[in-house]
């Protein structure tokens, strides 16, 4: 069985759980930019939350299957159509051989996940199978899908056939306006006293060059200090750096493992899946919280989601 890419769109990649435990050799997380939408999509086809799915970015993508299979679409896409007929998001859909699946542009939001019954063939690397584009590793030959690519799948006649729909209360709200909660970073206090308060007082817009590695945030520049370059140190998805320009830089899932700019804030784990829905033009308000509060928020979110998804982990 396989799925043919009729129209790949801007950036369509195979993404699932991130790489883990290899940042010390320079391997970033990669993986689904919006871990919550991925988990919801996978569940609708009876798969664990971190399995490989197809991540679609901003523009329309069209696929065709050559065998019967179950699929589900969760994310920012404006529409989902099978052979031209509108279909709901958040529902297990059954395709027959030759069906054409059309996933609309993101409106609002940035990314959409297409989960498919059966295992999507994806290059294995250090225990992960997601795509890390910058080094051309994992996923579909390390690259984004192109028109006419054929993605192989193992037998899709689902052993566990499911028909599910996400409960309305658990459906994410896709938007171009986001509130992201942040904790202090290692360089927040010295020598940047008060910088977190400044960050949270301003409104930011995501700049034009937003991608899976990160995005410059446009707004009134923050004041920088002499120490705007520091010895390279660990950064993570969700780290907010302060380059000499004073425009904060928010790191995404493909962010490099170390950086030399002050780390003035860190988006909390519970909110990090929202970074996957940020595209050029999105607006962000940051809200300061503490590490202790952030832990509580994450645990509450996981517990709420696990009532539907079972064991779940966001990244």
């Amino acid at each position: 069985m396989s799925i043919r890419v009729l129209k790949a769109g801007l950036q369509t990649t195979l993404q699932g759980a991130p790489f883990s435990g290899h940042r010390h050799i320079g391997l970033p997380a990669a993986g689904a930019a919006d871990s919550l939408s991925l988990a919801l999509a996978n569940y609708l086809v009876g798969k664990p939350s971190g399995e490989i799915a197809i991540e679609i970015t901003l523009t329309e993508a069209i696929f065709q299957v050559d065998q019967p299979c179950s699929i589900a679409v969760v994310g920012a896409a404006e529409y989902v159509r099978i052979n031209g007929q509108d279909q709901p998001h958040h529902l297990t859909l059954h395709l027959t051989a030759g069906d054409k699946l059309d996933i609309g542009p993101s409106r609002p939001g940035c990314r959409t996940y297409l989960a498919i019954s059966g295992e999507i063939h994806s290059d294995r690397l250090l225990g992960g199978r997601s795509t890390y584009l910058a080094a051309g590793l994992g996923g579909f030959h390390g690259r984004a899908l192109k028109d006419q690519d054929i993605v192989a799948l193992s037998d899709t006649s689902p052993t566990m056939k499911v028909d599910r729909t996400t409960p309305p209360t658990l459906r994410p709200h896709y938007s171009d306006d986001h509130v992201l909660r942040v904790t202090a970073g290692p360089e927040t206090d010295e020598p940047h006293n008060g910088i977190l308060e400044e960050l949270c007082l301003r409104h930011y817009g995501v700049g034009a060059r937003a991608n899976r590695m990160g995005m410059a945030l446009e707004g009134l520049p923050l004041r920088t200090s002499e120490a705007s370059n520091m010895p390279s140190a660990a950064v993570f998805p969700g780290t907010i750096q302060l380059p000499p320009s004073g425009e904060p830089y928010l790191l995404g899932p493909d962010a490099q493992t170390t950086g030399g700019y002050p780390r003035i804030a860190q988006v909390i784990r519970a909110d990090r899946h929202l970074i996957g829905q940020l595209g050029s033009g999105s607006r962000i308000q940051f809200v300061h919280t503490t590490a202790e509060r952030a832990t509580g928020i994450y645990r509450e979110k996981i517990s709420l989601l696990s009532s539907w998804l079972g064991q779940i982990n966001l990244w």
Partner: protein, 205 residues
């Protein structure tokens, strides 16, 4: 500010237990990541303090010295003459100058297998390029003074390039994909353009 030995010893201690989902040494720091569903920040801080204070902080024998073949051919080393002039030496003397300096891998970062190297010997500052390149080839050796680096993949970059190694710094088909590891001593060895071109397992990316 912790020294290199302390950071490496901390990395060994942190790696010896399974509390951390990531352990990331920096040039003068080390970070750990934990799962907030399993551990609170206070608990994490307590465990870090324990592990830093314990007898576990015995340093591990350094990994074996790595010899890195480098071709200094001008075509592969666009900034060779510039770097040599900053160092106050003839361009032809650069391979010998470089080979005479042992380097230590300070950390890996930026890209998979990308190595930051440090030399203890004093060296005039060369500095970064005013305009970073859009494309630096994998295997390129960059130098800004006492610090140098080896690019592991084709990528943008701003370090002056003085040579290129045919070795692959990151090979996903190996059980240990990264060629180098933090703390390792590195020695450079000059090779000819012919040797570079015919090197087995030449860098492919």
């Amino acid at each position: 500010m912790p020294d290199r030995e302390t950071i490496l010893a901390a990395q060994v201690a942190f790696t010896a237990c399974n509390h951390w989902t990531e352990i990331v040494p920096g040039l003068d720091s080390i970070a750990v990541q934990f799962d907030p569903a399993e551990m609170s920040p206070d608990e994490a801080a307590m465990i870090v303090r324990d592990q830093l204070g314990g007898a576990a902080l015995a340093s591990e024998p350094s990994p074996i010295m790595a010899t890195i073949p480098v071709c200094y051919d001008k075509e592969l080393a666009p900034d060779r003459d510039y770097a040599a002039s900053k160092l106050g030496i003839e361009a032809d003397a650069l391979p010998l100058w470089h080979a005479a300096r042992l380097q230590t891998v300070a950390m890996l970062g930026f890209m998979p297998g990308f190595a930051y190297l440090e030399s203890t010997e004093p060296c005039p500052a060369i500095g970064r390029l005013a305009n970073p390149r859009q494309l630096v080839k994998a295997g390129s050796i960059g130098i800004i003074g006492q610090q140098s680096c080896i690019y592991s993949f084709d990528s943008p970059g701003g370090w002056p390039i003085i040579g290129r190694t045919p070795l692959r710094l990151f090979d996903p088909s190996n059980t240990q994909p990264a060629l180098l590891s933090a703390g390792q001593t590195v020695r450079f060895e000059s090779i000819s353009r012919e040797e570079f071109e015919s090197w087995p397992r030449a860098a492919q990316k």
